[in-house]
């Protein structure tokens, strides 16, 4: 009787986990569909399949556990339900044999007859359900197998050796039709010399985009063929096209995960170095392989190291950064990644040596801050000094809150904080300051319309609360603070916490008050209840603060208000110190581990484009195909990045669909498209003559 509720509880937990896992799977499916072009372009179908296999395996596992428990519960239930009549019949039967009961025999027979039919009914129901499920399954599978799908073999085959695609590209009589017979490309023929730089130009709808998608074998032509060297592109498996060609389109997909995951995405074709498991993990993994085989899913392990180091030119994880940095620099994303790293956090227990070096950087920075040129731009943290560029709340806490206990906005309501203020005799001063602050705010803001930006900007009192504060402030003036009720006192108490002397310039926190707040700071730390010791990471000159960003750890202070130059100057100084301490690579490492959000939403559109291009550069493909993938950048950076990519690609092939035709002058060859046909193609210096189409496009 105790067993059933306990097992049901476990089943409920598992059911919740199942919903969570299924939801994650469906999110991942949606994401993969959105990023389908990348999967084909980078030959990562195996990675995607391994991911699905692992997720489905997990769901199977959960369901299996649920069913085992569910049916055991059912069994128990049935057993208990049946055992009573059984005993009843047994004893009844015995009595009948003894001849002392005849009516009992009748009941027993009737009862047995009734219960005998139940298993048959269950069996029938099972059969019906099975048939029903089979039909639904068949229908579902049909939906996923429309006509015109890429041959599965082309996606799954892993040839013995991957041939280089360095020969000349010969396109013959290519045609592509859209549904309804509209010709997107018609009779397109051209030749590209090996290792050349080719620009594809034309207005939108000229077929320029369809052409390079054929070239990347993301689509197959309806007629004609493309040959690269000895190979007909149509027959090459994705294991070749996805590795020897690199394609990046105008709206390339950025997958959720870290910057690094995305950057190395195009290198994850097959599992490389196997994952290491402990005994329990190994057992679980074996189970996974068994089930995956049974279900005809891939047995590739998603936890293995999938990175194709050889393709990058690296020997392993150790020297990978060098190549990452090079690709990031080419697309001018290195600075962004560095900034992401500065804003990121670090677990000093996981990386004690790095934390130590950051502390060294802090020390060096503070030495440099002694220079009069920086003299008044930063107000450092000093336990013995009141920091006028921080709020009263921050001064009291003198640390970074962890979790919700000491959230700065709510500090005025925290029992420990209020007790501390009481202990150092500040309660009355806080009330008085609150009352004066309320009076000033009411005077300043009473004529402003509700919702005016200042309410938000200065954050002391919202427009909704202003009338209430007006009343409290009036009452405080007429009857005195001591006569206020509990609610009114709480309202006033909470106000001074937000005051920043250097910013608000209202003058309410004078030197004397500051000294007593320092007292409160000390008492706060000393009397912090044991259970809340992990709720604050105190500022300590000699300790790394795990809750604060790397930048805040180096700065260990606040930029002062009213010095607009401080941001730029100190940013530059931090950069110099980081460089001098050889910390840049480590900080970029933290930046590479930053999450980019769903579909890269935490990055700007320009950063997303740059990341997509860098992802292609990492592959070192034989032909790099860029389809307007830098169109979202400003013209100046576009030109700079173009030159960087020229240098990066060296003597390998490059095909670039240009959104600005005048940039074609930087290329060897050009293909000019119009209305789905090649208008002309050849060497740029020949085509770029007055009166010729390329020249007209470039000028126009």
């Amino acid at each position: 009787m105790i067993l059933i509720p306990r097992m049901q509880k476990k089943v409920n937990v598992l059911a919740k986990e199942r919903v969570r896992t299924v939801r994650a799977l469906s999110e991942r499916i949606g994401e993969t569909v959105s990023g389908m072009e990348e999967v084909h372009a980078h030959d990562t179908s195996e990675l995607v399949l391994a991911d699905f296999s692992a997720r489905i395996g997990k769901i199977y596992d959960i369901r299996y556990q649920i069913y085992r428990r569910k049916f055991f519960i059912k069994f128990l239930n049935n057993f208990i339900a049946m055992v009573t009549p059984f005993l009843f019949y047994l004893i009844g039967g015995y009595l009948v044999i003894e001849g002392s009961l005849t009516f009992g025999a009748l009941v027993a027979v009737l009862g047995a007859y009734k219960d005998l039919s139940s298993p048959w009914k269950d069996l029938l129901r099972y059969y019906q359900q099975k048939e029903d499920a089979r039909i639904k399954y068949d229908q579902l599978i049909e939906q996923f197998q429309p006509a015109g799908m890429l041959d599965e073999g082309l996606q799954r085959d892993e040839p013995e050796d991957i041939p280089a695609l360095t020969g000349p590209v010969i396109a013959t009589n290519l045609s592509v039709e859209e549904e309804g017979g509209i010709k997107v490309l018609e009779g397109v023929s051209f030749t590209m010399e090996p290792k050349s730089r080719t620009a594809v130009v034309g207005v939108g709808g000229s077929g320029r985009s369809a052409l390079v998608q054929l070239l990347a074998r993301l689509t197959n032509p309806d007629g004609g063929s493309i040959r690269i060297g000895d190979h007909n592109l149509k027959n090459l498996p994705e294991a070749v096209t996805g590795r020897r060609l690199a394609y990046v389109g105008p709206d390339s997909y950025v997958f959720s995960g870290t910057v690094k995951d995305n950057l190395l995405y195009g290198l994850k074709h097959r599992p490389g170095i196997p994952a290491r498991y402990d005994e329990e993990g190994q057992r679980h993994h074996q189970q996974f392989i068994l089930e995956a085989k049974e279900a005809d899913n891939t047995t590739s392990d998603i936890n293995a190291d999938w990175i194709d180091y050889a393709a990058v030119g690296a020997s392993g994880p150790e020297d990978l950064f060098e190549y990452i940095d090079k690709a990031l620099k080419a697309v001018e994303l290195d600075e962004d990644v560095y900034e992401l790293g500065l804003g990121g956090t670090l677990d000093p227990t996981a990386a004690p040596e790095l934390a130590e070096r950051i502390l060294e950087a802090r020390r060096v920075l503070h030495e440099r801050l002694e220079d009069p040129a920086y003299g008044d731009l930063v107000e450092s943290f000093d336990r013995e000094k009141y920091n006028t560029n921080m709020s009263v709340a921050e001064n009291l806490l003198f640390g970074t809150p962890i979790g919700a206990d000491f959230e700065l906005d709510q500090l005025g309501l925290n029992p420990h904080v209020l007790a501390v203020l009481d202990k150092v005799g500040l309660t009355k001063d806080f009330l008085a300051t609150g009352a004066r602050l309320a009076a000033i705010m009411v005077e300043l803001f009473q004529d402003l319309p509700p919702g005016h930006q200042f309410f938000q900007q200065y954050g002391f009192i919202s427009s909704d609360d202003l009338p209430e504060y007006q009343n409290v402030s009036r009452r405080a003036e007429s009857v005195g603070i001591d006569e206020l009720d509990e609610t009114e006192r709480t309202m006033l108490m909470s106000l001074p916490f937000k005051l920043i002397p250097a910013r608000h310039r209202i003058g309410l926190i004078d030197k004397e008050m500051q000294a007593r707040l320092l007292d409160a700071r000390r008492v706060f730390a000393e009397t912090l209840p044991g259970g809340q010791k992990d709720s604050v990471a105190f500022f300590d000159r000699l300790e790394y603060n795990a809750a604060a960003s790397i930048q805040d750890n180096i700065l260990f202070g606040r930029l002062v208000y009213g010095r607009p130059q401080s941001h730029r100057k100190i940013g530059k100084l931090i950069s110099e110190v980081v460089e001098a301490q050889n910390l840049r690579q480590a900080i970029m490492g933290v930046g590479l581990d930053a999450e980019v959000g769903i579909a890269g939403s935490r990055l700007s559109p320009a950063q997303q484009q740059k990341l997509s291009v860098a992802r292609c550069l990492m592959k070192n493909a034989d032909i790099l195909i860029i389809n307007e993938a830098t169109a979202g950048l400003d013209p100046a950076s576009q030109t700079r990045i173009m030159n960087n990519i020229f240098e990066f690609v060296g003597d390998r092939g490059l095909v670039w669909v240009l959104n600005q035709a005048d940039l074609a002058r930087h290329f060897d060859h050009a293909i000019v498209m119009e209305g789905g046909k090649v208008l002309e193609h050849g060497r740029v210096e020949e085509l770029n003559q007055p009166g010729r189409p390329l020249h007209d496009l470039a000028v126009g």
Partner: protein, 144 residues
């Protein structure tokens, strides 16, 4: 500088001298008090105009770039207002302003400045006077 001292500074300029005390207090509270060292840039030509400045202490120079070299076309002194033209015209900054020696200013938010002028006839008159003076100065400069 306390915001009440800032009220006095604001009142010292004819543009704001006629405003009532409550408006001035709000303006003083909402404005930012900034300091610059010699040669530091307040804004560059071409940047969007999102604020105006009133000099509290020190001097600022107006610089334009011509043929790659910088020419100082004007020097602004104590209690002068600048940067307001860009706000009215909703255009980019026409020149660069730099500090000449130590400079302290009040930075007045552009939206705040506009609403002040549109809602107060006295301030509007002050602005007209200020702009007329600048036009007159410019024509004198042009004649030279």
């Amino acid at each position: 500088m306390d915001y009440l001292d800032a009220v006095k500074v604001l009142r010292s300029n004819p543009l704001f001298s006629k405003l009532d005390q409550a408006k001035l207090k709000l303006l003083a509270f909402a404005s930012e008090y900034q300091t610059f060292k010699d040669g530091e840039v307040l804004f560059n030509a071409g940047e969007p105009s999102d604020c105006a400045y009133l000099i509290n202490e020190g001097e600022a120079i107006v610089v334009v770039e011509k043929d790659g070299s910088e020419i100082i076309i004007n020097t602004l002194g104590r209690h002068e207002v600048f940067g307001e033209m860009g706000i009215f015209r909703n255009s980019a900054r026409s020149a660069t302003i730099k500090a000449k020696g130590d400079l302290s200013v009040m930075r007045i938010d552009g939206d705040m400045f506009l609403s002040l002028v549109t809602e107060n006839p006295d301030a509007a008159l002050g602005v007209m006077r200020l702009l007329s003076d600048k036009v007159a100065d410019a024509s004198v400069l042009a004649k030279k």
